[in-house]
Amino acid sequence: LDEKELIEKLCAGSENAFRYLLDQHQQRIFRACLGFLHNKEDAEDVTQEVFVQVYKSIGNFKGDSALSSWLYRIAVNKSLNFIKEKNSNGFFGTIKDALGISGASTPHSELEKKETENLLLKAIENLPEKQRIAFTLAKYEHLSYKDVAEIMQTSVSSVESLLFRAKNNLLQSLKK
């Protein structure tokens, strides 16, 4: 099944085509979400949101970029929005946290504890948004600069510049 054929079938609402899409991309999208969220349950929730969004808006996909780039774009947006929502709980979030009903993910595995305590990961979280996206896609996902540029809808030289600035900012944070 080539990409064009797959998109046509998805637009026609074929469940088999949607299952094929999930087989091909689900794990990759889950890992991309995990790269931003560092929590398995949150990454699974956001992965679900990504594919529901894909199902809803496949008709809007123009095919200007690869399907996988479009999926990554949705995953990045959903993951960052998830983080923003989680961080903007504010006063009510504090009350919920105090009552233990926040539903916020707390580290419950050794790895999640390491993630929370790791200085580099903390510094990545504090990077400006575009630098964070470029750094995570390039260094966590090991995507080529060309792929990162396609996902971010920018040029390769802009990605190089974002990564250069991201590394400098990370070093400054680590030096503190």
């Binding site: 949607f18 794990q27 889950f30 199902y55 390491k114 200085l119 580099l120 680590l174």
Partner: protein, 144 residues
């Protein structure tokens, strides 16, 4: 090599992507500079956590959950507008009915049958209230 020059290569060094003279120069500097050595250790530890995290797989049922969510969405997506349309139609009929009733009452009311009309009005209002509360229940159950 000084710290400034070294720090521009620290990420590449931590990722083992430096080669030749640059690799040797950074290695030598790090052996003699605890500050840069600490930075390399932090970066390496971050990359190690990322590598470990990449071994996590999604729940094997995730695909089924996504398919189920889409199926549910399709079903409710088709039902809710129909029910909402029905509720709106019902509300519209009720509003027109009440308005017409009130209008007719005003037209035909005379001092002689004021008492009777007042009883009729009360019943009408009570009926209308009952209808409204009925429609409110429908909306509540819809929302559920």
């Amino acid at each position: 090599m000084n710290c400034n020059h070294c720090s521009s290569h620290l990420f590449e060094f931590a990722e083992n992507s430096l080669t030749g003279r640059e690799f040797e120069a950074v290695s030598e500097h790090i052996q003699n500079c605890s500050h840069c050595a600490k930075l390399v250790a932090e970066i390496k530890s971050g990359f190690a956590v990322m590598k470990e995290e990449k071994t996590i797989s999604a729940d094997p049922w995730l695909q089924d959950k996504i398919i189920a969510r889409i199926s549910t969405r399709e079903k409710t997506g088709a039902q809710v507008p129909v029910l909402l349309r029905a509720a709106l139609r019902l509300s519209f009929v009720l509003v027109i009915g009440i308005a017409t009733g009130v209008g007719i009452n005003k037209l035909i009311t005379t001092p002689a049958d004021e008492v009777q009309t007042s009883v009729a009005n009360t019943t009408g209002v009570a009926d209308a209230e009952e209808d409204l509360s009925g429609s409110e229940n429908t909306i509540l159950s819809l929302n559920e």
